[in-house]
Amino acid sequence: MKQFAAKTARPLPVIILADVSGSMGENDKIGMLNRAIKEMLQTFTKESRLNAEIQVALITFGGNGAIAHVPLAPAHQIQSFQELTADGGTPMGGAFKEVTKLLEDKDVIPSRAYRPTLVLISDGQPDPGSDWESALEELRRSDRAQKATRMAMAIGDDADEQMMAKFINNPEIPLFKAHNALDVVRFFRAVSMSVTSRSRSATPNQPIEISYEDIPDDDLDLDDLVFKK
């Protein structure tokens, strides 16, 4: 019977929707985002060989529109990625369309995959022309895409928190508000903990409740990097 057993573990996809608009260049928010994503990938690489194969995709939205910066791949196979740079507007609607398309693609995310996690990061208002409202509605109505756990981090005071709160679909995982560089790192640690806990769980489809206060601070001396205009 061995020849009939799939040779790959069941995937647990994590898809990051990252704002790379021009404003992300202020106070080096983009630099901190790069650092936090790298740390998350390292954590996943250590954990990705447990009960599921953690897979990661990075969709960016900025001056180049919404693009798959890192296509969905097992975390342990993503050795590095081209660092994100900040430029242009905030075509968030395009990112919602891109991720809905990805989640609907059963060849890329098969039905044996565990429920995906979507992570939205933004520091501003979505471009009105990006049609974000209808794109978000399409995501929320899609048979498959709506099942993904959606988390979000609003960076700084200019982020559209009301809009980002609409993105979230689990009251136990509230909108995270990052006011400084350390918060960005802490948020990604929370995402990592949530995903790796699921990958170790007997019921990987159950979302893990997140208490952002419980995420330990570390030795990074970043408290003084406050995200203000």
Binding site: R112, Y114, R115, D143, R144, A202, P204
Partner: protein, 231 residues
């Protein structure tokens, strides 16, 4: 006509690690004029998943023993559900949710198939057929079952006829079916592997195949039941 059955159920690695019981259950019976195979998978997040799956096997057995083979699908399913609820006693159905797959056949080869929830029923008549595919909008471990669904329309049923030797039916939980590739030839390969061994050795072989399942990081309990016609 003669039918031969095999079955095996093993605890998944994660339940072994956590010291939890096997939440799948299996039952096979052959009587003089009819036979039955039941495979159930208790929903892992529920506290009485193991009880729910065992009681479902017994509920199906009791129901078919007290039913005429011509009973309608709807009446049979209702009777199974009622029997399962009775057996649960004070346990809330929502705490004991389980899938329920069964095949009920006559010695003539006439066979009825029933499926609620994930897992798979495959049969070999003149062609290989899988009773259903997982709804494509679903992800792994998303299922319905007794205790969750009260809708007749959530059941998949089929009436088939095993009219030639070597034709058969296999039932399996999603611990196997979700990680199965090349399923079109699965039954054709499984049967000779079992038939060439003695009853005791074939059982041991089947258990061994499930324990040593080669999908990386597999976690689920695994249960399979197989019947085929010999003549």
């Amino acid at each position: 006509m003669k039918f031969v059955t095999y079955h095996a159920s093993v605890r998944g690695p994660i339940h072994q690690r956590l010291g939890q019981s096997n939440q799948d259950a299996v039952l096979t019976r052959r009587w003089r004029r009819q036979w039955l195979m039941v495979v159930c998978d208790g929903m892992g997040s529920r506290p009485y998943a193991d009880v729910g799956s065992k009681m479902a096997c017994y509920a199906v057995r009791d129901t078919v023993l007290h039913s005429h083979f011509a009973i309608s699908d709807r009446d049979l399913i209702q009777a199974v559900y009622r029997n399962w609820l009775d057996r649960l006693g004070s346990i809330k159905p929502n705490d004991a949710i389980t899938t329920c797959l069964f095949a009920w056949g006559l010695s003539t080869g006439e066979t009825r198939l029933f499926q609620l929830g994930d897992g798979a029923i495959m049969y070999q008549t003149d062609h290989h057929v899988r009773l259903n595919k997982r709804p494509t909008q679903n992800f792994s471990n998303e299922t319905t079952g007794l205790g969750l669904s009260r809708k007749y329309s959530d059941w998949i049923t089929e009436h088939i006829y095993l009219q030639k030797p070597d034709q058969g039916v296999v039932l399996m939980t999603d611990g196997i079916s979700d990680d199965l590739v090349g399923e079109e030839s699965f039954l054709a390969e499984l049967q000779p592997s079992l038939v060439k061994r003695s009853a005791r050795m074939s059982k041991r072989w089947l258990v061994n195949q499930l324990v040593n399942w080669s999908t990386p990081h597999h976690t689920d309990d695994k249960t399979i039941a197989f019947i085929y016609r010999t003549a």
